[in-house]
Symmetry: C2
Subunit: 349 residues, 2 copies
DNA sequence: CTGTTAGCGCTTTCAC
DNA sequence: GTGAAAGCGCTAACAG
C-alpha cells in the first residue's frame, strides 16, 4: 500500500500562529483576514507562520465571534404548478438548515409573470435583507429593480429564470438553450430516422427560459435531423386545460405527428389529449421537470424522457451562494453548477 | 402579492430559553440534546419555551464548544484510471473544506482489487480514525474488516462500490443495476428497431458494480428489445490495451454488431479499435464515467451517451455523512442520493 | 436532578 | 502599527 501520511490531528489556532510569529492575536487576525494597517514586514512574518503551521481558519469560531445574522428574501411565484410547489417546499427545507447558520429566509409569493408586480416587489423590499433570490423575468423594469438592489449592496441571485444583463451576483439554474438541444438530440435519436413532424409546446414565448429551450431544440433538430420538421411553437400558458385543447387539436390536424417537446408546464393536459387519442405509445414525448405527474407519465411510457432541474439543489445552492457572499467565504463553482438532468424510467430517483 | 411574514431577525439563545423556562443553561442543554437526568415535568417546561421562542441551535457555537476534531481515512485505489484520478482530486478538495470544519482526511492508496490487501489495510487502520470511506469489494474478508471497524465504533461508508451485507453506515454511490437498465433503454431506443447484436465490455465480472450493470442491461435489453441480441460479456480488466484488442477482435468477429455497452474503464482502447475499424459512426457506444477522454469521444460522436456518477458529489457526500454521524447531526437523504447522470454532448457540464 | 463556571477559537472594540 | 481583553452561544466538568 502506498500510504497517505497522517497529518497532525490537532489543528493550529490563531494563537499558535501569533506565538510562532511573535505578534499578538489581533495582528494575526488582521493579516489572515486581509485587513489593513499592518507593516509589510509583519505581514510576511505572519504569513510564514501560517504556512509553516498549516493554519486554517475555524469556520465555526469565526462565525460565532462575528455574531452577525443574515436575512434573505426568496421571491417565488404565487401560481402553483407542480415544479414551483416543489421548489417552494425545498426552499422551506433549506430555510430550516439556514436557521442553524444564523441566516433566515422569508418567502414572498408574487405574480412573477407580471414584470411590474415583480419589479414593484423588489423595489419595496425591506432594507433588512442582505440577500435576495428571485425567479426573474428578463424585463427592463425587473432588471432595473435588481440593479437598484445590487447598488444598495444587496446580493441578488436569480433562480430558475435569469436576467442576464442585470447586476445579479449569480444565476442558479440550468442552461436553457442546452436543455433544448438535449431534448432535440433525444427526440432525433428516439425517432430513429422516421419522417414526419414534431411539435413544440411552450408555456409562453415571452418567458425567456421557454424561448431559449425552443431555440436550442430547433437548432439541433433542423441541423441534425432533416427527416423531421419542427412545427411552430404553441403556447399553452402553462395551463392544463388550454394545453389539452391545443394538443388535441394538434393531434387531429397533424396525422404525421411523431413527437412533442413540451418545454413548459401543463403536462397533464398533454397526457390527457395523448391518451384520449390512442397515440400515446407512438408519439415520442419529451417534457421538462420531474414532478409527481410527469413521473407517472414517464413510468407509464407516455412520456419518453424528462429533462429536469433539481429544485432541492437549486434552493440549497441559492442559499449557499448568498450566505457565502455575506460571509466573504468562497464557493465551489463545481458544486453550484445546476445540472441538466435526463430521466428515463430506469434512472428515476 | 401574498406576503411571507417576516420572522424576527434576532434568534433566541439557550440563555433566553433558560430564562423563559425558569431553569439553568445546563438544564436546557440537557433537554435540547436529549441527555438524561431531567424530570419529565422540567423537560416539558423547557420544550414549551423552546417552541414558544422558536429556538434553533447555533451550529457554529455548538461545534466550537464541543471542540472535538475528527479524522477520517479515505481508502482509494492505487491504480490510475481517469475516474479514480478525478475522485482522488475531489477527495483532496473536500479535505480542504473539511479542515475548516475541524475534520481531517488522510487518503490511503491501496490495491483495492485485491481483497486481502484491502482487508489488511482496513484491519490495520490506526484507531485514531473515527470514520472511514472505502471503495469496497464485496468479499468475505473485506466485509469482516468493515464489520470489525463498525464494532469498534468507527463509522464506515462505502464509496462507489458497495459491500451491501456489511455493517457499513451508508453507501455513497449509484444504483448499478439501474445504471445498466438506463444504458439498455438508451441503447434500445438509439438502435430504433434495427436487428443485430450488442456487446457488453466489463472490467471484471468479479467486480460487483460491473456485474450489476451488466445484469440490469441484459434484463431490459432482452425483455424490451427482442430485435437485438446481447452477447456474453467480455472482460477488459479496465486496461486500455487489452480492451482495444478485445474490441478489435469483436468487430471482425461480429459483422452484425450494432452497439457496445462499456460498463467499466478502458474506454480509450475501445475508441481506438472503433476508429481504426471505420465503424465508429455506425456502432452505438454507451460508456460509463465522464472523464477527459470519454468527454472527447462523446463530443466527437464516437460515444453516444455517457452514464455518470459525479465524483465531486460522491466525495462531498461521503465527508458530510461521516461528519454528520460524528456530530450526531441529521443528514438529508435527498441531498446525499447520488444520481445516475446521463450525458449527451448537449448537456455536458 | 439541577446549577455554576470555565473555556472553545475567533472578532472587535479600545488602548497604547 | 500593534496589543489586551471582552465576549459570541454552547458544552462539559464539577458542585450541590
Amino acid at each position: 500500500m502506498t500510504g497517505g501520511q497522517m497529518q497532525p490531528a490537532a489543528r493550529a489556532t490563531l494563537e499558535d500562529v501569533a506565538r510562532a510569529a511573535g505578534v499578538s492575536l489581533a495582528t494575526v487576525d488582521r493579516v489572515v483576514n486581509r485587513r489593513e494597517g499592518v507593516r509589510a514586514k509583519t505581514v510576511a512574518r505572519v504569513e510564514a507562520a501560517v504556512a509553516k503551521l498549516g493554519y486554517r481558519i475555524d469556520a465555526a469560531a469565526a462565525r460565532l465571534a462575528r455574531g452577525q445574522t443574515f436575512r434573505f428574501a426568496f421571491v417565488l411565484p404565487a401560481g402553483t404548478n407542480s415544479f414551483m410547489t416543489n421548489l417552494t417546499e425545498q426552499v422551506q427545507r433549506t430555510a430550516d438548515w439556514l436557521a442553524t447558520q444564523r441566516a433566515f429566509i422569508d418567502v414572498l409569493h408574487v405574480d412573477v409573470f407580471d414584470p411590474d408586480v415583480l419589479a414593484g416587489t423588489l423595489e419595496e423590499l425591506s432594507p433588512a435583507y442582505q440577500g435576495v433570490a428571485v425567479i426573474a423575468l428578463d424585463h427592463p423594469r425587473v432588471r432595473a429593480a435588481i440593479d437598484d438592489l445590487a447598488a444598495r449592496g444587496v446580493a441578488v441571485v436569480t433562480l430558475v429564470s435569469d436576467a442576464p444583463s442585470s447586476r445579479r451576483l449569480h444565476y442558479v439554474g440550468i442552461d436553457n438553450p442546452a436543455a433544448g438541444r438535449t431534448a432535440a438530440t433525444l427526440m432525433g435519436r428516439f425517432l430513429g430516422g422516421r419522417t414526419g413532424s414534431v411539435a413544440v409546446i411552450a408555456g409562453s414565448l415571452s418567458l425567456r427560459d421557454h424561448t431559449e429551450r425552443q431555440f436550442g431544440f430547433h437548432q439541433i433538430l433542423s441541423s441534425e435531423y432533416p427527416n423531421v420538421a419542427a412545427l411552430p411553437a404553441l403556447e399553452g400558458r402553462d395551463d392544463n386545460e388550454r394545453t389539452r385543447l391545443l394538443t388535441a387539436e394538434l393531434l387531429t390536424r397533424q396525422p404525421d405527428l411523431l413527437g412533442i417537446y413540451s418545454c413548459g408546464a401543463g403536462n397533464r393536459g398533454i397526457a390527457e389529449a395523448l391518451e384520449a387519442s390512442g397515440r400515446a405509445r407512438d408519439v415520442v414525448w419529451i417534457a421538462h421537470e420531474l414532478t409527481q405527474h410527469t413521473r407517472r407519465f414517464l413510468v407509464r411510457g407516455t412520456i419518453d424522457a424528462i429533462i429536469n432541474q433539481d429544485p432541492g439543489h437549486e434552493a440549497r445552492s441559492a442559499a449557499r451562494v448568498l450566505l457565502a457572499h455575506c460571509l466573504a467565504e468562497p464557493t465551489s463553482p463545481d458544486q453550484e453548477r445546476i445540472r441538466i438532468d435526463i430521466f428515463l424510467r430506469d434512472n428515476l430517483p
